[in-house]
């Protein structure tokens, strides 16, 4: 059974996705990314590349499972309009020991930030703003692995 990858526009229920996740493992790490209300932001609009997104996330989740000897992995990422306070995405990793679970979650996130085909645009009360620029730091973070 491979890692589970979910790409959807609807909100997701983290609790039900994590129910039973990591059974038999000693360590489970989750990371959730939420929309912050910075600078009067009211929502994010996320565009993605249907087909490539799912394939790329699945490939990368499998890489993480192999590299960190995970017993389980989950990647969920939304697209479309996401209101302030809502979750954009979540990764979860399960391993016998904590170091592997932490590192795998960190690795998945570094990759997601600059290699998964998603593009964010900010929506203010006044309407759509510009596309969020990629951060050099996110690109640089990938060289850690």
């Amino acid at each position: 059974m491979g890692p589970r990858v979910i790409v959807q526009d609807a909100p997701f229920d983290a609790a039900s996705l994590l129910d039973g996740f990591g059974a038999g493992a000693g360590a489970v790490v989750t990371f959730s990314g939420l929309v912050r209300a910075d600078d009067g932001l009211v929502a994010l609009e996320i565009e993605h590349y249907p087909g490539m997104t799912e394939a790329a996330l699945s490939d990368h989740a499998r890489n993480a499972v192999e590299r960190f000897a995970l017993t389980d992995a989950l990647v969920v990422h939304r697209f479309g309009r996401i209101e302030v306070g809502a979750a954009i995405m979540m990764v979860a990793t399960a391993a016998p020991h904590r170091r592997a679970a932490f590192e795998a979650a960190d690795f998945l996130m570094d990759w997601l930030k600059s290699r998964a085909p998603f593009w964010k645009r900010e929506i203010g009360a006044e309407g759509p703003r510009g596309w969020v620029a990629a951060k050099d730091a996110d690109e640089a973070a990938l060289t850690r692995w």
């Binding site: 590349y49 995405m89 930030k113 290699r115 085909p117 998603f118 596309w131 990629a134 690109e139």
Partner: protein
């Protein structure tokens, strides 16, 4: 070497989609590499030219896999152009 003319679906995302004005278009091309295809597309009109003028700010996928400007297009069915990703 014979010039192979192939139909390729070209996709644009985020600001490339907006500036070019369409999310996808089918092109008949004999481009051997991504670089050749970019040159062809840039010759289409001012919008294509502007959007593809700084390829350091553009990422490319060939058949849904990240690729670079030298990637060959033999057998490719789909080429996508988009800004650096901002997921997570």
């Amino acid at each position: 070497m014979t010039m192979q003319v192939a139909a390729i679906d070209v996709l644009y995302f985020a600001w490339l989609r907006e500036r070019i004005g369409v999310p996808r278009e089918r092109v008949e091309t004999s481009a051997a590499t991504v670089r050749d295809l970019v040159a062809e597309l840039a010759g289409r009109d001012d919008w294509h030219a502007a959007a593809l003028s700084d390829m350091d700010a553009v990422r490319v996928a060939v058949d849904q896999r990240l690729a670079d400007m030298d990637a060959p297009l033999a057998g490719a069915r789909e080429v996508a152009f988009f800004p650096p990703m901002t997921g997570g």
